[in-house]
C-alpha cells in the first residue's frame, strides 16, 4: 500500500534515507540541500534510525569521513549542493577509484560566480567524469524513488561505485507536491542489508584501501573501474524492473514522452522536463508532432540507446543547464552528439544553454525551442548551433 503524502523534494529524500537506515551520515550544510541533513538529524535525535551522524567541518571532510566509513564496511550517505560538491572534488575521485558505494543526495545548484544559490547543473556536470553514477530526478517522487534504488545499484557486485541522485535546487527541493511513499518495511526489504565482500573492519582478511599504484598497475585499476561503470547500465535496468514490482512505477535509462512519431524533440534533464511535457501536450493539440527524451541516467551515459530513440526525428534540441565554456556547446549536447555520430540517419542537432542560476523555464520558453526546431527542419540546416534560451543579449 503506497502512502499518499505531500512533501518537498528534500523531505522526500530524507524519508528515503530514514527508511534505508544507513550506518553513517557525515554532512555539512549548504543551501539548498541543508534540509536533508536537518530532517535526518531529527530522525537520529528521535531514535527513528540508528545511524551515526557525523557533524564535520567542511564538505571535504564530509566526503573524507564517508570514504573512511564506507571502507570500514558501513553503509554511508551524505548530501550537498554546488560549492559543497566542488569542495568534495578530490575525494569524489578517491571514493570512486576505491570502489566505495557511497550514496550522495545532490541538490543541484549553480557554482559561483556571480554568487547564486539557485538551480543549475554546473555542480554535477563538473563532476561527471569523477567516476560516480549520476541519476537525475524530475520531481520529488523521482528523487525519492531514485534514492530508494541507489544502493541496489551502487553496491551490486558488478558495479561497486558511488552514486549521486540529483534533483533541481529549490524548484523541486523546496516545492511541496504530492508524492506516493512506500511503506518502511517494503523499502527495507528492497534495499536489504549491506554485506560488503571486503572491508577494513573485517579482521579475518587484511586489506589496504587507497594505496599507491605505479605505472605498472594504475592503468589496469582504471580499466577495472571503468568496467564497473559499463556494467551499471544493465544493473540500473534490473533494479528498476524490481522496483516496479514494489511501486508500480516504471524507470529506464531515460524516459520517452510522445517520442514515437515525433518529428522534432528536445533532450532535457530534471525538473524542466515536466514543464516541457505540458508544452508538448499543448503543441500536440495543435497537431504538431513533438516529443521529449528525458535523460535519467547520465553516468553511465546510454549513448547507443539514446541515438536509437532519436534517430527518426528530423531535428532535436539538446538542453544544457550548465555552460560548457568550450565555445562549442554544453556537456549534455556533446554526449548526445557523439552518441549520434555512429548512426547513419540522424537528426539535425541544436544546443540550448538554459536555466542558469535559476532562470525560470516556462511552458512558453519550451514552445520557443520547438518553434526554432520547426525552422531548422524547414531550412534543412541548423544555423547557429549553440544558443541561449530566455536571455537578454
Amino acid at each position: 500500500m503506497s502512502i499518499r503524502e505531500r512533501l518537498s523534494g528534500n523531505e522526500a529524500v530524507a524519508i528515503a534515507m530514514r527508511q534505508i537506515n544507513p550506518d553513517v551520515m557525515p554532512a555539512f550544510p549548504i543551501t539548498p540541500s541543508t534540509e536533508i541533513p536537518q530532517y535526518f538529524s531529527s530522525f537520529v535525535a528521535n531514535g527513528l534510525v540508528d545511524t551515526e551522524f557525523v557533524t564535520v567541518e567542511s564538505e571535504h571532510s564530509a566526503m573524507s569521513a564517508a570514504i573512511g566509513a564506507e571502507a570500514a564496511g558501513a553503509r554511508t550517505l551524505t548530501a550537498t549542493s554546488s560549492c559543497g560538491l566542488a569542495l568534495m572534488w578530490e575525494e569524489l575521485y578517491v571514493a570512486a577509484s576505491n570502489r566505495l558505494p557511497i550514496a550522495l543526495a545532490l541538490v543541484n545548484r549553480a557554482l559561483s560566480g556571480p554568487i547564486n544559490i539557485n538551480a543549475d547543473h554546473s555542480d554535477s556536470m563538473g563532476a561527471r567524469d569523477s567516476g560516480w553514477i549520476q541519476i537525475y530526478s524530475e520531481n520529488n517522487q523521482e528523487a525519492y524513488d531514485n534514492f530508494v534504488q541507489a544502493y541496489r545499484i551502487a553496491e551490486h557486485a558488478d558495479v561497486r561505485l558511488p552514486i549521486m541522485i540529483c534533483q533541481d535546487g529549490f524548484i523541486t527541493s523546496h516545492a511541496v507536491e504530492n508524492i506516493n511513499l512506500l511503506e518502511d518495511d517494503i523499502v527495507k526489504n528492497f534495499v536489504g542489508e549491506y554485506e560488503p565482500e571486503n572491508y577494513l573492519l573485517n579482521n579475518k582478511t587484511s586489506m589496504a584501501v587507497g594505496p599507491y599504484a605505479t605505472p605498472a598497475f594504475y592503468m589496469e585499476a582504471k580499466r577495472a573501474q571503468s568496467q564497473g561503470m559499463n556494467n551499471a547500465k544493465q544493473v540500473i535496468l534490473d533494479v528498476a524492473k524490481e522496483f516496479k514490482t514494489i511501486s508500480g512505477r516504471e524507470y529506464g535509462l531515460f524516459e520517452e514522452y510522445k517520442l514515437d512519431d515525433a518529428e522534432t524533440a528536445i533532450v532535457i534533464l530534471s525538473s524542466a522536463a515536466g514543464t516541457a511535457k505540458d508544452a508538448i501536450d499543448k503543441l500536440r493539440s495543435e497537431g504538431k508532432k513533438v516529443g521529449l527524451l528525458k535523460i535519467r541516467v547520465f553516468r553511465p551515459f546510454p549513448a547507443e540507446e539514446i541515438a536509437q530513440a532519436l534517430k527518426n526525428c528530423k531535428a532535436i534540441a539538446v538542453m544544457d543547464r550548465s555552460e560548457g565554456f568550450n565555445s562549442q556547446g554544453g556537456p549534455v549536447c556533446a554526449e548526445v552528439k557523439s552518441g549520434l555520430y555512429n548512426i547513419d540517419e540522424k537528426p539535425l542537432v541544436v544546443n540550448y544553454v538554459y536555466g542558469l542560476g535559476g532562470r525560470d523555464v516556462k511552458v512558453e520558453s519550451i514552445e520557443e525551442v520547438y518553434a526554432a526546431l520547426d525552422k531548422i527542419v524547414a531550412d534543412k540546416t541548423v544555423g547557429e548551433g549553440y544558443r541561449y534560451l530566455s536571455i537578454r543579449e
Partner: protein, 190 residues
C-alpha cells in the same frame, strides 16, 4: 489539460506568506487534490518582498515554473502595493485580496486599473483580537479559501483544527486562538 487553479502570494520575509502557501497546499491536498506550494527561490531576508505560489488541480501537476498569470493574488502586506506590481498578469475573472484596514473601493486606486474583483481583510485586527499578536497568515489563508472557493468552509475549519492539533501538540493553548482567527476571517473578508 484540465484546469489548474494558480495563486500568487506577495508578502515580506518573516510574515509567513510562504508558510501560508504551504498550509493552503496542505488543506487542498487533504481534499484529494494535486497541489504545489513553493516560494520564489532566493535568499529570504526579514522584511524584503517575497513571492510564494500555489497550484491546485484535479490531475497531476507537471509544470515547474513560477506563476505569471494567476487567477488569484494575495497581498499580505499593503505597503507592497506601492513597490511591487502585485496585479501583474492577474486574470480579470480572478480576484485580489489585500490585507488592509481600507475598504476594497479605497484600495482599488492602488491596483494599476485592475478590473477584476477586489477583496480586503484587516488581518491585524483579527489576529490581535483572536491571538493577541499579529500573525497575518491565518486570516489570509481563510480569505483565499473563501474567495477562491477552494473547499467548503465547514470542511476547511475541521481540516484546520485537525492540523493544528498535530502542529501545536506541544502548545494546545494556541489552537483555539488560531481557530477563532480563521472563523472571524471567513466572515470579514469583503
Amino acid at each position: 489539460m484540465s484546469k489548474v487553479l494558480e495563486i500568487r502570494w506577495h508578502g515580506r520575509g518573516g510574515q509567513g506568506a510562504k508558510t501560508a502557501s504551504l498550509l493552503l497546499a496542505d488543506v487542498a491536498f487533504n481534499t484529494g487534490k494535486f497541489v504545489q506550494g513553493f516560494p520564489e527561490y532566493g535568499p529570504e531576508r526579514m522584511g524584503a518582498p517575497i513571492t510564494a505560489y500555489n497550484r491546485i488541480s484535479d490531475t497531476q501537476i507537471r509544470v515547474h515554473s513560477n506563476i505569471y498569470d494567476p487567477e488569484y493574488v494575495i497581498v499580505v502586506d499593503e505597503t507592497l502595493l506601492t513597490s511591487v506590481d502585485v496585479t501583474k498578469g492577474l486574470q480579470k475573472n480572478g480576484a485580489i485580496i489585500v490585507n488592509t484596514e481600507k475598504t476594497s473601493d479605497e484600495v482599488r486606486p492602488f491596483l494599476n486599473s485592475y478590473e477584476g474583483r477586489v477583496f480586503t481583510i484587516d488581518a491585524r485586527k483579527i489576529s490581535v483580537a483572536a491571538l493577541g499578536k499579529y500573525f497575518p497568515n491565518m486570516p489570509m489563508l481563510a480569505s483565499i479559501v473563501k474567495v477562491a472557493e477552494v473547499m467548503d468552509e465547514k470542511a476547511f475549519l475541521e481540516e484546520m483544527r485537525g492540523s493544528f492539533k498535530h502542529k501545536f501538540a506541544s502548545k494546545p493553548e494556541v489552537i483555539e486562538g488560531n481557530m477563532k482567527a480563521l472563523e472571524m476571517s471567513l466572515q470579514e473578508v469583503k
